[in-house]
């Protein structure tokens, strides 16, 4: 059974995120472990495109919905290029590796508010799982 489900209406951003995770799981099936935790709610918003999705992540599934979910555990907001960059940034312990140019660029965006992750402090394990799932590296 495909662990990635993309609901109708979640085309575009949803297909990209779901497609990324699907491709990563095909390449590295051990990453399925990252979906074993209980279900969490993650919203992803592309600020410059008026596009957003809600993701139910856990219990073996990565389920993308065409609109944001209420009471999310994580709420991520950035422009389209930054969202893509998140998938291409080298990670260390599941977070952008500040020893790399790409990692420092992401941290700088976070500091400037160009990338906003609500719930980051309280839900760090969830964020690191999400980063590892999305990482194309």
């Amino acid at each position: 059974m495909d662990p990635v489900v993309i609901e109708p209406g979640a085309e575009g951003l949803g297909e990209m995120l779901g497609g990324l995770v699907r491709g990563n799981l095909e390449r590295a099936p051990q990453r399925l472990e990252l979906l074993r935790a209980p279900v969490s709610r993650v919203n992803v918003r592309a600020a410059d495109m008026n596009a957003s999705v809600g993701i139910l992540m856990g219990a073996g599934r990565f389920h993308v919905h065409p609109s944001v979910l209420p009471n999310p555990d994580l709420d991520i907001r950035a422009d389209a290029q930054t969202l893509l960059a998140l998938a291409a940034v080298p990670l260390r312990l599941g977070m952008p590796d500040v020893a790399t140019v790409e990692g420092r660029a992401i941290v700088a965006k976070l500091a400037r508010g160009d990338l906003r992750v609500r719930g980051m402090v309280g839900r760090l394990p969830l964020l690191t799982r999400l980063n590892r799932l999305l990482s194309a590296l």
Partner: protein, 141 residues
Amino acid sequence: MPLFPSDEWLKDYVERINSSKEYEEAAATWEGDLCYVFEAEPDKSVPKDVWTWVDLWHGKCRDARYDVGEEEGTKAKFIIRAPYSRWKQVIRKELDPVKGMMQGKLKLKGDLPTIVRNVKAANELVNIAASVPTDFVDEQR
């Protein structure tokens, strides 16, 4: 000036890909053929879908064929499709392809992690397309 879409345009595009140091560097590890689908818009003088295939390998385009048809085109490792007028916007740099894909305006089929790892190369392909002096088929009198 070459007409878009046409075989002549494709030849110019391929020549520029193979002359581009930026692309060669950005796509040094890229392996995989790609099909661009310019979807029909009969009212814009594009009466049928045009499947245009390019074979990209380690920074070069080894081969390219215009209007290969769907049966052949679907075998490509990557397929990017959109209506003709969207491609016109991309070539004119009026539509960023990354945003276009995230908005569902350009549909991508293929291994997304590979595209993400090679987004610089993908951006260079767009820059090169924008550099081809182009006449658009729906703007001909």
